[in-house]
Symmetry: C2
Subunit: 160 residues, 2 copies
């Protein structure tokens, strides 16, 4: 279960966080990256929250634990995590989420529930492919893409 929309279903949360963290450590070791205390703690905070968090929300948590409490501290850590594919930025929310599946595929689509604000990462290979085709048709070369959908998650759709 690594490409499904975990966030929309109950699951072994502690387990999936631990797994993602282990994946991050493996990736860091493999690539010779430094998963320093700040970076690691930011990733843990995102994993624990299991939803999109604003940079300043993360910063508050960091500061409460004795790390620096100025914006650059958290923005640098987030930049590192995003660059390495360990976290994602949700443009629509100016927020960040931990990547649930570091190291694989990547360039997922994000499904954002407008009701409960849950954010799920969905496999988007077909979406990217369609986008690349559309871009190629006008001579454009895609390097990075952002695909985000706003709507209703299963639970909130059911409640309505």
């Amino acid at each position: 279960m690594h490409t499904e929309a975990l966030a929309f279903h109950s699951h072994d949360h502690a387990g999936c966080s631990a797994e993602a963290l282990a994946g991050a450590e493996a990736l860091a070791a493999a690539k010779g990256l430094r998963l320093t205390p700040v970076r690691r703690r930011v990733l843990e905070i995102l994993l624990e929250a299991h939803r999109a968090m604003g940079a300043y929300d993360v910063l508050q948590r960091l500061a409460a634990e004795g790390f620096g409490n100025q914006p650059p501290v958290v923005y640098r850590a987030l930049e590192f995590l995003v660059d390495q594919g360990l976290a994602h930025r949700i443009q629509r929310l100016n927020a960040f989420t931990a990547c649930m599946d570091p190291g694989h595929d990547h360039a997922p689509a994000f499904l954002i529930c407008r009701d409960c604000s849950a954010v799920a990462e969905a496999p988007a290979a077909s979406v990217r492919e369609a986008l690349e085709m559309a871009a190629a048709a006008v001579g454009f070369t895609v390097e990075r893409s952002t695909v985000e959908a706003l709507g209703l998650c299963p639970a909130c759709a059911g409640a309505a």
Copy 2:
């Protein structure tokens, strides 16, 4: 020529702006919307620029012409235009562009050149369809979607 990536090719710019503006007026008339001086002027500014502009850039133009010079003035006009499909927000740039084809299709993909910053609107029916399928697979209902690609436009790819 209403679904192609105009921004990447030379074309009758004054003509396409006039056309889009006429389309906006027709749409406003048809829907009973008020295309007031501020709103109309914001749309014209976006059409003339023919690229993504930040809200404060637009505001500066407005202020120079005697309109209010406080952020809410331009943000309200932009919100109106975006809601009515006369302009689009480019999340990745925190910027706005005029819609080149008001009234049709809609929910285009945006192709953003990282070199020259040109932004083109590309037809994205197939992309949206793929996204809706992927979302449906996890029980999510898409209401609005954001599809943006960062890369190289034909001209800049050629120059490199």
